[in-house]
Amino acid sequence: MAIASAERATGSVHLTGRRLPRWAPWALAAASVGVGLLVQFSGITAMGLAPGIVAALVFLIGQTTASGIVEGRRHAVDRLATTLVYTTFVLALAPLLWILITVTIKGLSVMSPEFLTGTMRNINPRDAGGGLFHAFIGTLIQVGIAALIAVPIGVLAAIYLVEFGRGKLAYFISFFVDVMTGIPSIVAGLFIFTALILTGVLEQSGLAGAFALAILMLPVIIRATEEMLRIVPNELREGALALGVPKWKVVLRIVIPTAISGIITGVMLSVARVAGETAPLLLTTFLAQSTNFNPISGSQASLPTFIWDQISRGTNAAVDRAWGGALALILFVLVLYAGARLISRYFAPKTS
């Protein structure tokens, strides 16, 4: 420590590093916008870059340089990182807002009572008119059946993982549930096609589509339920078991009710996720132009395949209908999504 203390004796403290004044970033931002406007209106080309990009680059380089000269390298790097982090967030929100606004405007232009209640039966692709009633009914039926299949299996599997599972088997199941969340949706469709349609168990129908969607829902439901069951306090279980209540009753009467809001949230999120799936349905339900209430027999439309069908017809009227379908689909998904959030917010068990 000898050297160190000798130096310390001579060293003076300075708490006031040189800082850029508070107005500096704002002034620089204004200047950058000015440069951007210059590029926009003066004909200076700046390598053909868009004015917004030029302004952003001017700000980024200007601030880092100024900060580097005045405040030193460390603060310059910190400012650069801060600016970039804020930029990434804007970059993420831009497409979200862009998509939502576009879908809303384009979708509203074709929305009408006829569009909601009509079908595509006997509608020429080139003509306006027609509707998505058949597709909406198909989506409700398929997603509903998928939930009926996936919810009991998923909740039971989660109960196994939380209440009973240990050792290698539980580890493997847990691991493959995670892996299963990453299965491409088209693979689920291919599986149902090979396992149920090619083998003659089912024809191409709403039910076959529902099975494919159920595969995609299953891991989401298991994970959500598992998380909820794990935060149910052990004291509740032990208290009931100590009273001599059998385990299965403890789970059904105490654990599940405590976690029910979280489970419902998970189910709604998984429904929202699969409601927009197109790829597996293309292989399992086929396209249909009229309403089919029967999930077991005959092809059945759905909102995503309706949009796909209209886009691939390519006429102006058909693409307009696709935007109408997109608006209906996104509203359906967002209602489920927002509902799930509200349930989880207002009915969640207090964890602390």
Partner: protein
């Protein structure tokens, strides 16, 4: 040289909530000041405001002055980063960086700023810092091992070595022994007595015996009720606070009647 700290009319807030009110206190250079008082009296909050760690919590602000040898650390143009380099801190629970080795932990703060005036090599600084924290003999053969592989008491001394490696003027210690066993606690207390030759030290402690063993001066804090701000009741040489306190509240506390 180490520095004197003068706290003047300091109020510390969490958002709208006033946590500490109206503190006036001087901490002399090369002395150990102990903050004592019941839980929730704001002594840790006050400590964290002395190196501007308080404001890391969203909404947390201070009003008043804290002077470091006459310079207000809350003055305009003061860089909190420089304040924290000058006023080091050791936390309640040992917090070495889990992914770094013992060696890397010691130089973690140093690597941020290449100080050209220091001619010592990193190895020398690591050795002198670990010696300064009374840890060198125990770890010199395993500097490449993870910091988290040490015992709790050793980890806390590693954190002290990490703090003194950047050559601060003041060391703040927030209940540094509360997570340690008695033997490790004694080792840290010995170290504090040695460190005051080189640093001004402020230690928050729940343990009055510890305050008695390590500190020159003591400040007692209290709150009148939950939700009320913490205030400093009394300060003075530790021996006087413990034997003949001026204030009834202090006497009740040090004699163990409450808290």
């Amino acid at each position: 040289m180490s520095k004197q700290i003068d706290i003047r009319d300091l109020n510390v807030y969490y958002g709208d909530f006033l946590a500490v009110e109206g503190v006036n206190l001087t901490i002399k250079a090369n002395s150990v000041m102990a903050f004592i008082g019941p839980s929730g009296c704001g002594k840790s909050t006050l400590l964290r405001s002395i190196n501007r760690m308080h404001e890391v919590i969203p909404g947390a602000i201070t009003k008043g002055q804290i002077l470091l040898d006459g310079e207000d650390i809350y003055g305009p143009n003061v860089d909190p980063v420089l304040v924290r380099r000058t006023i080091g801190m050791v936390f309640q629970r040992p917090n070495p960086f889990p992914t770094m080795s013992i060696y890397e932990n010691v130089i973690a703060g140093l690597k941020l700023e290449k100080d050209k005036s220091r001619k010592e090599s990193m190895d020398d600084i690591v050795e002198s810092s670990l010696r300064g924290a009374n840890l060198w003999a125990e770890v010199k053969d395993r500097l490449k091992r993870p910091g988290a592989s040490l015992s709790g008491g050793q980890q806390q001394r590693l954190c002290i070595a990490r703090a003194i490696a950047v050559q601060p003027q003041v060391l703040l210690m927030d209940e540094p022994c509360s997570a340690l066993d008695p033997i490790s606690t004694l080792a840290i207390e010995d170290l504090i007595r040695e460190l005051k030759d080189r640093y001004t030290i402020i230690i928050v402690t729940h343990n009055m015996q510890q305050a008695g063993r390590v500190s020159d001066n003591t400040a007692f804090f209290n709150i009148s009720a939950v939700g009320q701000p913490g205030i400093m009741i009394e300060t003075g040489p530790t021996s006087e606070i413990f034997t003949k306190p001026q204030n009834q509240q202090t006497e009740d506390y040090v004699s163990g009647r409450f808290g």
